[in-house]
Symmetry: C2
Subunit: 727 residues, 2 copies
Amino acid sequence: MDFSSFLTSLITSCAIFVVLMAVFAWLSRRPGNRVIYYPNRLLRGMDPLDGGASHASRGPFAWIHEALASSEQDVIAASGVDTAVYFVFLSTVLGILVLSGIVLLPVLLPVAATDKPSHTSSGTVSNGTFSDLDKLSMGNVEEKSSRLWAFLIATYWLSIVAYYLLWKAYKHVSALRAAALMSPEVRAEQFAVLVRDIPPAPEGQSRKEQVDSYFKSIYPDTFYRSMIVTNNEEANKIYEELEGCKKKLVRAETMYAESKTTGKPEGTRPTNKTGGFLGLTGTKVDSIEYYREKISELTPKLEAEQKATLRDKQQAAALVFFTSRVTAASAAQSLHATMLDTWNVMDAPEPRQVIWTNLTIKFFERQIRQYIIYIIVALTILFFMIPITFVSAFTTLQNLKKYLPFIKPIVKIAAIRTVLEAYLPQIALIVFLALLPKLLLFLSKLEGIPSQSHIERAASGKYFYFTVLNVFIGVTVGGTLFDTFKTIEKKPNSLLTVLAASLPGNATFFLTFVALKFFVGYGLELSRIVPLIIFHLKKKYLCKTEAEIKEAWYPGDLGYATRVPGDMLILTITLCYSIIAPLIIPFGVVYFGLGWLILRNQALKVYVPSYESYGRMWPHMHKRILAALLLYQLTMLAFFGAKKFYYAPFLVPLIISTLIFAYVCNQKFYRFFSNPALGVASHQLKETPHMERIFRTYVLPSLCSEKVEDDQFEDALSQVSRAGSFA
Amino acid sequence: MDFSSFLTSLITSCAIFVVLMAVFAWLSRRPGNRVIYYPNRLLRGMDPLDGGASHASRGPFAWIHEALASSEQDVIAASGVDTAVYFVFLSTVLGILVLSGIVLLPVLLPVAATDKPSHTSSGTVSNGTFSDLDKLSMGNVEEKSSRLWAFLIATYWLSIVAYYLLWKAYKHVSALRAAALMSPEVRAEQFAVLVRDIPPAPEGQSRKEQVDSYFKSIYPDTFYRSMIVTNNEEANKIYEELEGCKKKLVRAETMYAESKTTGKPEGTRPTNKTGGFLGLTGTKVDSIEYYREKISELTPKLEAEQKATLRDKQQAAALVFFTSRVTAASAAQSLHATMLDTWNVMDAPEPRQVIWTNLTIKFFERQIRQYIIYIIVALTILFFMIPITFVSAFTTLQNLKKYLPFIKPIVKIAAIRTVLEAYLPQIALIVFLALLPKLLLFLSKLEGIPSQSHIERAASGKYFYFTVLNVFIGVTVGGTLFDTFKTIEKKPNSLLTVLAASLPGNATFFLTFVALKFFVGYGLELSRIVPLIIFHLKKKYLCKTEAEIKEAWYPGDLGYATRVPGDMLILTITLCYSIIAPLIIPFGVVYFGLGWLILRNQALKVYVPSYESYGRMWPHMHKRILAALLLYQLTMLAFFGAKKFYYAPFLVPLIISTLIFAYVCNQKFYRFFSNPALGVASHQLKETPHMERIFRTYVLPSLCSEKVEDDQFEDALSQVSRAGSFA
């Protein structure tokens, strides 16, 4: 890639960004698009254009001003602590890059540019004729030159800045978490614990009695009540069918009302077919009547099933509620039975993020599952090319024609055929990479983790290793990690040397990559073109009822599981190149700066968090920043070695201090992120908690009968106890 | 070693044992020796010869009957749970050896003896001409022979027996610990927690106020009071001086009374000299008057110092008392502050085993100390010959003569000189090995561990690695581990091969070693010759007062820290040879059987435990038995490899299953041994605990004023609070 094509690519990306910004400025002002650009505010019942400025006077850059003016408390109020922690991450990384950039750029660029290397030292100069930028990189410095001292000190400077800011950030996040957990608001999950691996109930005792008597004896004063986890499969199925029918009924009624107002002859009543397959087969019936009938048929069925579930389908897990936050917090950390695989107690997840089906998995089964998943993921990371090659081999045109005969006429066209033949493997790869986050989420869920946020953290970790190992190291070294292993096999420990040798050659590739990421990626993020188009299409052709329209614009959450590993990849690239080609630092600064600005806007106005884990993601981010820092230091050690610099071993203390720093942080801070601190939980509450309401937040809608809201569940449960005691 | 010398050694050991037994039978019947043979019973206020049998009718083997008839509850009553757990260890190991012996001996011995090896396979046959025993070992089986299958299956059999018995034992010990912890007796340590790393007290608050308000806010209902750890150095010094004077006064008074009764002229009043050096210098004074004066001088000084200590020397650690066992148990497991290095809470050790000086060591200092100690111990294990060589080189006769001129005349005698020159290095080694347990205890204490039992566990672990690595592997491979490393350096992973090749050659050495251990070791243990002689000497020449005599016979405890590693060494040897030379199994059986019997007697009648950790030693024993098992399996893998047996890899699943077994046991059982389970602590107490008495058990004697027993401490403390609040 020569300089002009680099510039072309940069300018193109920038142009796309400007266009997307303009699109955003124009589209976001149209009232019809408010649900796309301000859903978070709308859902919180706020005016989308809050801030006093009238509609007309708002400039196209008002959002920038708003984002910059917003405080951390605003973010917490709008999107929760998790999102605020994400901004701590962004600003910490930004801080590291800015603080090292203002020292490294003015120092290292002149040092590199004024050296006159004897162009024999090949392998450390970028491919092609991209000499203008190469002059500004460490590749331009001669081997063994004493100028390398400047680069070595720069390596130290960046690391020390990173330690300092990371330490401050960990303290800050710790304080954020503490502030959230000691808040005087009553939060249901702070009063509950999750109990798993309950041993078989003794003869003549129901599970509920067993759990109640066990916890009553340990916590005579603060035990409130328990909720036994049940096998809700059947009840859920009926409930979903019922809800579906209700939706369809509303829809049919709306359509009927519309058709009446539009004055069609005799107000055509909507009809549908009763058959299963896509609603295309079966007899034609009147929709309104049909669904009304179905609902009145399903409602008693659901009620019967609810009772049966609560009575007969109790499982070996329970949620236990306490009247005190401190008791719940301390119970979640304490050993209850002498063996860890019985009466295993942990914090209850938030009601909205409980993975009910995972609660009943047994202790050792969870462990076995976890190790199996780890092995699968490790194999996926190492050999991810193999199944893709296999799938590509299978999906040749011959095979496709054989199994999918209807594509035959398309394939006959020569042009399409050529394209298909050439791109089938790539398509398989793209499909795999697109599905990877889903696959990792699915695998993490299989581990038996009880909460959604934990699953996303686990998947995010797996994704991080995948991207860093396959994208960064893969692209740098060339080919997949597996190929590299084969060459490294003969000389162990040479991965770093190979990496160091290949790094400079790919500097411009990664510069372009980072630029593309922030210009196009964040441009699309801000303008929300894709959700906007989908919403308008759905609204026009599919949605009939208010609920359906709301569903169409309802925003997702920030998407931790994939967003953080993506940022981490950019960070790893920027760090590893920061000394070798310091020009990458401004690119990294723009990436994280722009990301901060645009996501601040999105966090305040668009995304709605789907759970709150009170910053539990932070230790994972912290650990991975340190992993990137370690990779950077190791690479630099190898690179100085490749430059035949005698003082390269001076970097070893730096590597050791990174390990010590990681250890100290982990020891000092980590436990508070896995367990609530009692000193925090003991803070005063605003009001005496309404225990029944807390209990009720955990009742699944499919088990919550509508008729007698308040007494039904209680009745069913007391029936259970009674039934059990006579069984 | 040929067969006759092996027999000679065996018979000699056996003869010594018989003599010692006879000595024991004779001496233990003399009433004057009761304090040596029945101190535990005497201290518990029981009749030494309990059991109804009159003195005369007791046969010399009555103790055997008593030991066999005693139940686990008797042991717990006499020597505590820790000792009972030690017997579980002994009987488990015995069970493993017996159960494998009854299968292995009848099967393997004939299989080995009937094979006719072509005596070319050197290296797997014992050194020398000890062919009679060799015929019964695996060395007698030909290479690649299908007879090796029997040995391979035997390897499996022993392991499976071990898994089964260890699993049962872990469950049993867990139940023992639970029974002890849920006992309705009030035990002070179950109501207290140890708080370390207390942050600096805020302005205008004393430490006590700070701690009280912190814990009151978290545990408003169950907090009783706190005790701040103080720097008692000065108070202790005065207290010890005072106690010394009191003892000497009693001694002087006794001597004076004696001299009066013996009718010496004018009842010679005892005198002493006031000088420091061994009481030989200074002016001569009347002892009784001198000490009375000193006591009346020191008592107010101590009282003043006590007040000053309690007020001004408060440290950043405290003991906090709760009125409920459950709260204390759960507090000890819970995170209190957001950072782990502040308000670190753990179980309180028993009052008698608190290491007060270690309580105030800071969190990260403890960690740093721990790692430094680990490194020192690892170096000691690997290179323990180096300092000894160095010391030996330094302690040549020339140097000794130079620095210790008074030995010159001795050295001049030729015979002594030769002996000294020859044995100086060995003497250095023996001194080092004798001091090693003390050194390891000292090092473990430096780690900052807060309780004596924990220190002994830590030292025991270190000693285990030292003995197994240096004695077992060292003797087998020949030379120290360090020498072996040098030969292994070129071919990594060959340690096992070297070990496997050297094992058969040392079979007879270890047979003799085990026999010596049990005959002489346990003979001395039972007969207690050494303590008896020391006691009688002391009684005759040193002791004057009752207290001094009691001190002279007061028994120690079982001595976990060195006894367990010693047993482990025997177990490791027996296991590693069990298949190669099955004849070792009966020796192992006798060792552990005799050990069980004799120590049962000692536990019931002699030793007095110096602390109670409720079986916390067990997980360590369990882990080390598994380590021995793993070493055995690895050795067998290497040995089958040396025998060129194609199916040797069939042992790999066995090794993996040992690792899985260790993992599962650790996961399932371990946590209960580091933290009390709440379900156990919640059991009913016999009586409402007398909190003031519990609190008082933790008050050090040096801080406990005698005058106003009950109010003084309270006053001093409340003064502190008041003083603090006005400061």
